[in-house]
Symmetry: C2
Subunit: 112 residues, 2 copies
């Protein structure tokens, strides 16, 4: 899918939170998951900016571990605040999707 950049804003961070919530993982792997999911154009740099942001906002804990196949990995796990943020994310997402359905099906009332 091309050019969904703008539509991903505010969504991608939630995706990353969700992926981390399934178990500790690191930036490169998160990128791979997103690409497998279908967001094929997501690059490491994008995920990096998101993880940095999550770290700044204390939504994730970090543990550095050595790898046998490359440089050390920074593993992320959600903090309590991170889990709360993830819930908030899905609440917002559900709100918007419900409104979009409403928009698609609603009769628009006209004024005079």
């Amino acid at each position: 899918m091309e050019n969904i950049t703008e539509m991903l804003k505010g969504v991608l961070e939630g995706c990353v939170l969700e992926i981390i919530s399934r178990g500790e993982t690191y930036g490169y792997e998160i990128t791979q998951h997103l690409r497998e999911l279908g967001f094929t154009d997501v690059v490491e740099g994008t995920v990096y900016t998101i993880t940095i942001r999550l770290e700044k906002n204390n939504l994730v804990d970090i543990e550095k571990k050595k790898s046998t196949v490359g440089p050390p990995r920074k593993f992320y796990t959600l903090t309590e605040a991170g889990r709360e943020q993830l819930e908030v994310f899905w609440t917002k997402w559900d709100f918007i999707t419900s409104k979009m359905v409403e928009l698609k099906t609603m009769e628009i009332k006209r004024r005079g």
Copy 2:
């Protein structure tokens, strides 16, 4: 719903296109519709920037009409390009929503 700003990026323009597709309308009325829909924090300025953008991209035709209750209104209707853009928007939206469902339900494959 608070703070859904970022999540609305790339979505709001599609909403405006959809609303215009139902029949000619103007900025202020579009804002009202969006607020009735539930996007209560959307303000005129935001819609204005969107309609300007639509105009620049030749997605809408404009007709100025006098009003009995205030200054003249600028009525918008979709051009052929606008209708195509609206279809593209829903395609993208459906893609993202399907991926989000997948994300929510998917088993995440772990690597070694």
